[in-house]
């Protein structure tokens, strides 16, 4: 009994245990349900999986299944970010505990019961529990926002090296707060149309209606919701990485206000799509995205400069190679910032190019080609977010030596290979005709699948190691169970 109790307390009460459970759940879900589409369907693996697990896949419900799948993975990611925030930022113990309990029960309910409903027949109590899970996550978010209230003197920033007001209000905390509050508001933009369409059991994927010249308010709301929620998850993660790397100094003082302004304007733009301001909403979104991306750029400059300085300490006249070596010395520190840079080539750059050349190039092509670009673009952003979390997690669990190097570089190189291949696949029509595309498609799909597959193998190896570790009396988990305060692990 004690065996189970101690492990349970580690997995569901400690910061690192909670993160481990959420990563394991996402890994399992991705591995299982990833076998139902794309090349896995092509190879016939989907049919085997469907039979093996006795899934009930009604053709007309595909879009609904996918929506629940995306939500259940996203909720676990939101839970991971919440665990980290509650462990990094000062807050009352009551809030910390309440937020964690609510969000853990919430995401596990949403994931388990939601997927049960979506893939194993319509059991309506399961659907109810799925919705209840989402509601719990929302309430956890409300409590988190209350806990993050930045105008409480107990949480003022005394150190002038960080962004703060004259009174001492912590601007970084304000950025976390603004992101949490706008996330809660933006959740309504999915919940309201979700209830509306759900009542009539009608679902659609945004990429399938993108060319309709007249969309309803509810349709705009769904499109806005999916864009802003992913953007907010990315913004929150950028703030977390900044805190982890102890982002401070002049760049921090410029970046944090930019992050707040960017987040608020970005949200206003997205909310604007359901108002008469729809025609200018895109412009507002661009205006909001720019300061947010500038703030992230400042974090990258700060972080890389810091790594280089640390790496060349003691060298009188370091060469460019020594600086480069210093920068890339630790893949787990270098990686998250590199992934943010790499995102510009595979996500932001593609998005901007599409916006600029939309009528000239992309809308000459069939809607299906545009759909590939749209879905590829945001799948890559989601996966980049996941890899940044995994790199950070590698540091959290104290990977050292060669394992740290292999784990870190494995994630960076394999994911970059997969994302670059997927980007070439998305954009193939720019340089090859349909009749001649097959060798290129085969190669990029092979590389993308190899990259993502091996990345999952790395994750599986870590998860198996952590699973075995749980059976050891003095395993690593016994140390982690005490390491609840992540501020102690901030990069100095």
């Amino acid at each position: 009994m004690e065996f189970i109790q101690t492990r349970f307390e580690y997995l569901f009460k400690s910061t690192k245990g909670l993160i481990l459970v959420a990563i394991a759940m996402i890994g399992l879900e991705t591995a299982l349900f990833g076998m139902l589409s794309g090349p896995m369907a092509e190879f016939g693996i989907r049919d085997v999986v469907v039979r093996l697990f006795n899934m009930d896949l009604v053709q007309a419900e595909r879009e609904g299944r996918i929506i629940i799948l995306y939500h259940s993975i996203a909720m676990a990611v939101v839970a991971i970010e919440t665990y980290i925030i509650t462990a990094m930022l000062k807050m009352k113990e009551f809030y910390k505990t309440a937020v964690r309990v609510l969000i853990t029960v919430g995401y596990l309910s949403a994931m388990i019961f939601g997927m049960g409903f979506a893939y194993w027949g319509h059991n309506w109590p399961l659907h109810g529990l799925y919705i209840a899970g989402l509601a719990l996550i929302f309430f956890a978010g409300v409590l988190l926002a209350i806990a993050l209230w930045p105008w409480n003197k107990d949480v003022y920033q005394p150190d002038k090296a960080y962004s703060r007001t004259k009174n001492g209000v912590d601007i970084e905390r304000l950025a976390f707060y603004a992101t949490a509050v706008t996330t809660l508001i933006s959740a309504f933009f999915g919940a309201i149309p979700g209830s509306y369409f759900g009542n009539g059991f009608q679902v659609f994927l945004a990429e399938n209606i993108i060319r309709y010249p007249e969309k309803t308010t509810m349709e705009y709301s769904v499109i806005g919701h999916l864009h802003i929620m992913l953007a907010l998850i990315a913004i929150m993660l950028t703030l977390i990485i900044g805190r982890w790397l102890n982002f401070n100094g002049l760049l921090h003082k410029i970046a944090m206000p930019l992050m707040i302004i960017g987040t608020i304007v970005l949200n206003l733009g997205v909310w604007g799509v359901v108002t008469p301001l729809e025609s200018v909403a895109h412009m507002i979104i661009y205006v909001g995205a720019t300061p947010s991306m500038l703030a992230a750029l400042m974090l990258v400059i700060f972080g890389w400069d810091k790594f280089i300085r640390k790496g060349i300490a003691g060298i009188e006249r370091p060469s460019i190679w020594q600086k480069l070596k210093a920068l890339m010395r630790d893949p787990l520190k270098f990686g998250p910032l590199w992934q943010m840079v790499f995102m510009n080539f595979t996500v932001s750059g593609i998005g901007i190019m599409m916006a600029v050349k939309l009528d000239e190039i992309f809308r000459i092509w069939p809607a299906r080609e545009e759909r590939i670009e749209l879905t590829g673009h945001w799948h890559i952003l989601s996966a980049i977010i996941a890899t940044i979390i995994l790199l950070y997690y590698g540091d959290l669990i104290g990977l050292k030596g060669k394992v740290r190097q292999w784990y870190g570089w494995g994630i960076i190189i394999l994911s970059n290979l997969a994302f670059a291949s997927a980007t070439i696949f998305e954009m193939k029509r720019l340089f090859i005709s349909e009749a001649e595309q097959q060798p290129l498609v085969n190669t990029v799909m092979l590389l993308a699948d190899f990259g993502l597959g091996m990345l999952l193998v790395i994750l599986a190896m870590v998860m198996i190691w952590r699973f075995i570790d749980l059976f050891k009396k003095k395993g690593r988990w016994t140390q982690e169970v005490e390491q609840n305060d992540l501020t102690a692990e901030v990069e100095i």
Partner: protein, 301 residues
């Protein structure tokens, strides 16, 4: 393994992406039982439309082609219409006159004014017909394959020339689904590899390691066996073939504020999810591809 070995492996993989495709690779030749000249009558009445089964009534009878228009049928049209001056041969295209659409100035809408527009491209190495400067002929083996590489204007022109028209989306959907149930595919609830020609569906015409997926002759999935390849009879309730897969089919609808033309049915280049009856695709009317064809209707409106 040394780093050099890794570089070599990656280089070889990238080189495979640059392999050229043999667009004239030999094509299997089979006798197909389905007659591409046949028409099916779709009686007036109600049917369930779309993914969410909205009851819709079409209050007139109409006829629709049992199969897509074939390369042989279209080549015949090209020869006749070029000879009588309906079509014009430019350097790289065959064009015909289109009277234009009403323009509403909607965001992203492109004006389609009265002018000559491309029907089919000329000199495209992947197209299934050839042109010697005065007449057209079918590339051997492709006579009964669906006519692809045809723009919406080319499909509209063919149907109009023969006093037919392109089907509306609703007419097409009813013809594909029948009037009795909410089936997702013309033949029923589920899809198997040998129900239709879709991406990597393992039919005798495809080779995913080189040229990829190719069209199958119209009416190929009729339950016949071809050199050991057994197909399932995949006719719709009204006896239509190729309503899912092989080539997308241009629709006749012109929607207010849009220059896009819609397509139905999925194709040899799409996964099975796009073969569901309610799935829509669209493109500019000048678009053509190896995966887009059409069929006509007559009667009704």
């Amino acid at each position: 393994m040394k780093p050099t070995s890794w570089y070599l492996i990656v280089a070889v993989i990238f080189l495979t992406a640059c392999t050229s495709v043999d667009l004239d690779a030999p094509v299997p030749n089979f006798d197909i039982a389905v007659d591409p000249e046949a028409w099916a009558i779709i009686p007036a009445g109600e049917f369930l439309s779309g993914q969410f089964n909205d009851p819709i009534t079409i209050d007139y009878d109409y006829e629709i082609m049992v199969t897509d228009v074939t390369v042989a049928q279209y080549v015949n049209f090209l020869n006749v219409a070029l000879a009588d001056g309906t079509l014009k041969a430019d350097v790289d295209r065959i064009a015909g006159f289109y009277p234009g659409d009403e323009f509403h100035g909607t965001k992203h809408e492109v004006e389609i004014s009265a002018a000559d527009y491309i029907f089919v491209p000329l000199n495209d190495p992947a197209s299934r017909f050839s042109f010697d400067g005065s007449s057209f002929s079918t590339k051997p083996g492709y006579e009964s394959h669906p006519m692809a590489y045809v723009s919406w204007f080319g499909a509209w022109g063919y149907c109009g020339y023969n006093s037919y028209r392109l089907p509306t989306e609703l007419e097409w959907e009813k013809a594909a689904r029948g009037s009795t149930d909410s089936r997702p595919f013309p033949w029923g609830e589920e899809i198997a590899w040998n129900n239709a020609n879709f991406y990597a569906s393992r039919d005798p015409f495809e080779d995913m390691s080189s040229f990829g997926s190719r069209t199958t002759p119209v009416g190929f999935y009729s339950g016949q066996a071809y050199d050991g390849y057994q197909t399932l009879d995949s006719a719709s309730p009204y006896g239509l073939y190729d309503m899912s897969g092989n080539v997308w089919q241009w629709m006749g609808n012109i929607y207010k504020g849009q220059h896009y033309r819609y397509m139905r049915g999925g194709s040899k280049d799409t996964y099975d999810m796009d073969l569901r009856i309610w799935v829509r695709n669209n493109a500019t009317p000048t678009y053509f591809s190896p995966g887009v064809g059409f069929r006509c209707v007559r009667g009704g409106e």
